[in-house]
């Protein structure tokens, strides 16, 4: 076991924000031949603790139920067993203690940027003047003050996602749930937004659960990575990422590459990982990286 990845949480044990206990999600599906219904197990016995203020990413192959897991955390779909507690209270549905950010931005196209950011506040019935102050604050935070009166179709993808993040932050949830938020963006914009998100996270101290299929993104952002497996969907590994922050420019480092490879290995089907990809020792990797750097 490498001390950088697999060690237990340190002495100062953080408080648990979200407890996921024995969560199951089963869909009823029509059987192909003959009548009746079969069961499709999306998630089986998922247990997970998310600590207050931490940045946790969920990675996994497609179909492992990572988005389903996030929908369950948001309370958007009912579970088939187990329970999810936030601050010790079992969740029963969506609520404003959690903010949700999606890949598709999901901005309301008939509202201006400012009104979009204020949307959650109107649900909370915050008075107008206060709403305006709050939206101005968060728009400034994401650098879109100038665009307050624009409509979403006038914005680029990166800007739309900034608005969506501001909207989710505006009603001041404690937990931010993000479902592949940067997957539709080009590589450069994505990296910019990753840095901006980390900055926001440090400023606001939110607990973030972030779903992605990009290992690179997961490693770059996370305190911990929950690696998920398929069939049935489950959490197969939890990895602590102890890369020092800020991580800007750390993508090229040996440690980063090593962790990325390790996570990649976890994501391989078990048999394949054993046969085709023998575990590489840290020194070997370092040697490879050295030789490449010399080029």
């Amino acid at each position: 076991m490498d001390p950088r990845t697999d060690s237990a949480i340190g002495a100062a044990r953080p408080t648990t924000k979200i407890e996921v206990r024995d969560i199951q999600k089963v869909y009823r599906v029509k059987r192909e031949n003959g009548g009746g219904y079969g069961e499709f197990i999306v998630l089986k016995d998922v247990n997970l603790d998310v600590y207050a203020g931490e940045f946790l990413t969920l990675v996994g192959p497609s179909g492992c139920g990572k988005s389903t897991m996030l929908d369950l955390l948001a309370g958007l779909i009912p579970n088939s067993g187990g329970e999810i507690r936030i601050d010790g209270r079992t969740i029963t549905g969506p609520a404003m203690d959690r903010g949700f950010v999606m890949q598709a931005y999901a901005l309301f196209p008939w509202l201006t940027v400012q009104s979009n950011v204020e949307f959650g506040l109107t649900i909370k019935k915050v008075p107008k003047a206060k709403r305006k102050a709050i939206s101005a604050h968060y728009l400034e935070m994401v650098g879109l003050t100038q665009f307050a009166n624009r409509y979403p179709h006038e914005l680029s993808g990166g800007m739309k996602q900034r608005v969506a993040i501001a909207r989710a932050l505006a009603f001041d949830p404690e937990v931010l749930l993000m479902d592949e938020p940067f997957a539709a963006l080009d590589a450069q914009t994505r990296e910019t937004l990753q840095d901006e998100l980390l900055e926001l996270w440090e400023k606001t101290g939110k607990t973030i659960v972030f779903v992605t299929h990009s290992i690179d993104e997961a490693v770059y952002l996370a305190d911990r990575i929950a690696v998920m497996g398929t069939n049935p969907g489950r959490i197969s590994e939890i990895v602590n990422i102890k890369l020092s922050r800020p991580r800007k420019g750390s993508r090229g480092s040996a440690e980063f590459g090593w962790i990325r490879h390790k996570i990649w290995q976890y994501l391989q089907p078990e048999e394949a990982a054993k046969e085709d990809f023998p575990p590489i020792g840290a020194t070997d990797v370092a040697a490879v990286i050295d030789s490449q750097a010399a080029l």
């Binding site: 958007l76 903010g99 949700f100 309301f108 196209p109 008939w110 649900i123 006038e154």
Partner: protein
């Protein structure tokens, strides 16, 4: 620096960001552009009116079948003056308003309901399709049979012609709301009723308005047809009446007026559409 960045992303904001000197010149330029645009738009109509004047005058067309435009115009003005025209116009307006707005009042709420409760819509859909695709005027005899030859039959057939197209557009608008918008609103704890009012309805507005425009065009068509069959007043009746009395110029006057009215109604509804859906990126403006 920031202004430049904005301009390069949004060429449309160029005008707004320019300094305000030379504003007068710009106005003049706009008026000039507007006039020439107007001329281009209506050039074809001017040409047709000119031909309409010339052909009967020089005997290329029998002036009895097509009186020169000036004569049509003059005789129509006489109709306006004597108030004969407005007698028919008022009756038609009352019929079409009752039928059209009545149709909207039924179709839009019902469409929202059906779009929301998808299983209900599944059961009713074949019926709606059958009703929409049956030619409205073939049903007119049945309407006369049921409601008599008076106003009720006319108003109800106009309603019928409006309801289905508006209903179908409303249903599809509500059904096809981007699910991520609903998910997003729900994630903020929004409940059904406010979700309907604040997310579904605005998102469905473009589709509903399209239905309303189609319904309006339908209702004018049906109004005129219904007035031509079994009626003793209204614009449709008026046109038939003058034709039967060989008052051909007046007949043409009625026809032209209806064409202008159709264009005006469509332009009005387009303005409404643009107003309500200004956020929509595909809102391109046709017409005047």
């Amino acid at each position: 620096m920031t202004t430049e960045a904005r301009v390069s992303i949004f060429p449309r904001s160029l005008e707004a960001d320019k300094p305000k000197s030379g504003l007068k010149l710009k106005w003049l330029k706009w008026i000039g552009q507007g006039l020439s645009g107007l001329f281009l738009k209506f050039a074809i109509i001017f040409i047709i009116i000119a031909l309409w004047e010339i052909f009967p005058r020089f005997g290329f067309i029998d002036p009895f079948l097509l009186p020169p435009f000036s004569e049509v115009f003059y005789n129509t003005m006489v109709l306006f003056k004597t108030g004969e025209f407005f007698k028919h116009f008022n009756i038609s307006i009352i019929r079409i308003s009752c039928g059209f707005f009545g149709g909207l009042c039924v179709a839009i709420p019902l469409g929202i309901f059906m779009g929301w409760f998808k299983t209900f819509e599944q059961y009713v859909n074949p019926l709606v399709e059958a009703c929409r695709n049956s030619s409205v005027l073939t049903l007119y005899p049945i309407f006369i049979l049921l409601f008599g030859i008076g106003e009720r039959a006319k108003i109800s057939i106009i309603m019928w012609g409006t309801v289905w197209v508006v209903l179908l557009n409303t249903i599809s608008g509500v059904k096809n709301v981007d699910p991520s918008l609903i998910k997003s609103a729900r994630s903020m704890g929004m409940k059904d009723l406010s979700l309907l009012a604040r997310v579904i309805l605005p998102a469905a507005t473009p589709s509903i308005i399209t239905g309303v425009r189609l319904g309006a065009a339908n209702s004018i068509l049906i109004l005129i047809a219904a007035e031509m069959i079994g009626s003793n007043a209204g614009l449709g009746f008026m046109i038939f009446y003058y034709e039967a009395r060989y008052a051909i110029a007046e007949m043409y006057g009625g026809v032209v007026f209806l064409a202008v009215m159709g264009v005006a109604v469509n332009a009005l509804l387009f303005r409404l559409e643009r107003r309500l859906t200004s956020w929509h990126e595909k809102s391109i403006y046709f017409g005047t």
